[in-house]
Symmetry: C2
Subunit: 199 residues, 2 copies
Amino acid sequence: MEYYSEKISRLIAELSSLPGIGSKSAQRLAFHLLDMPEEKVKKFTDAVLDAKTNVKYCSRCFCLTDREVCPICSNTNRDNSIIMVVESTRDMAAYERIGKFNGVYHVLNGVISPMLGIGPGDIRIKELLLRLQHEDVQEVVIATNSSVEGEATAMYISKLLKPAGIKVSRIANGIPVGGDLEYIDEVTLLRALEGRIIL
Amino acid sequence: MEYYSEKISRLIAELSSLPGIGSKSAQRLAFHLLDMPEEKVKKFTDAVLDAKTNVKYCSRCFCLTDREVCPICSNTNRDNSIIMVVESTRDMAAYERIGKFNGVYHVLNGVISPMLGIGPGDIRIKELLLRLQHEDVQEVVIATNSSVEGEATAMYISKLLKPAGIKVSRIANGIPVGGDLEYIDEVTLLRALEGRIIL
């Protein structure tokens, strides 16, 4: 980076510390920012700082939001008796995008991962249990990712809730729509077979 | 974007306005920034604003730098009799990285592009002519890109300088090192043949 003067190098270093931004992209972004009008750059940094300062967890579902209670939790048209448990606010947004789920969410903000030293106490599981005590919930749909950690977290939560008599479900594994069987891994093929539905 | 609260959406929108950052990457970056410690986010935005405020053009070679005269122009060990003309500060850095050019640079900060309405007056050509009047220059190496605009700019500058008796050269076209002839376009193959050197 010593080919650029100090302030440019510092900017490039900061940019390349972001995920998915390599050294070349960081240079490209840095010179783009230097080329932008000053007020636009100000607008950009303001958006970053404003979001960082004001975005907190929703006090009910723990998604990231700039309100005390997020728009979904405060929407009276949502069905509060069904809670979908997701890993992150982005996963929540993925389900919101399809617009077919009218229940509410609970965002764990992580998954159990012994490899990374993340235990059940480090994600929002106790907050989920607390909600289940105070809210009238009929079903908990576990929609953690289909990774090893996501599956383990789903199993953990399911084992915790079932004895309490709460209906617990898990989103289906199977062939992605448009997927080519030839290129799909064995575990997915097996799960798709096991989860077959009668036509 | 309406799946996120307003401040998050605004941050995502700002990030996705940057080059090479699509909607998915912008979401990923936004949540990464929200997840970073507050002082690190501050350090990031400070680096952006500090660079934007303090980085200007070098008064001699017009590269982007945070000094009045850039480190290369103020380095007394550089050979001031040979000037390499490049399109951008990034191209200058590309040549600096190999560390084999000991001359100085002149950064045009653009190329002649009638399609984009950029004429010779919009890039730093007159500043180059001024330098040639006041400095004792033996050779001008034109290292604009090998694009249509880069070639046109190189031709334009060459026609301007040659009558003044200045030695003008152009970096070579040819097969990139490690390149496979089979996949190389015809114009490059022709240029490589024309530019062949006797062994």
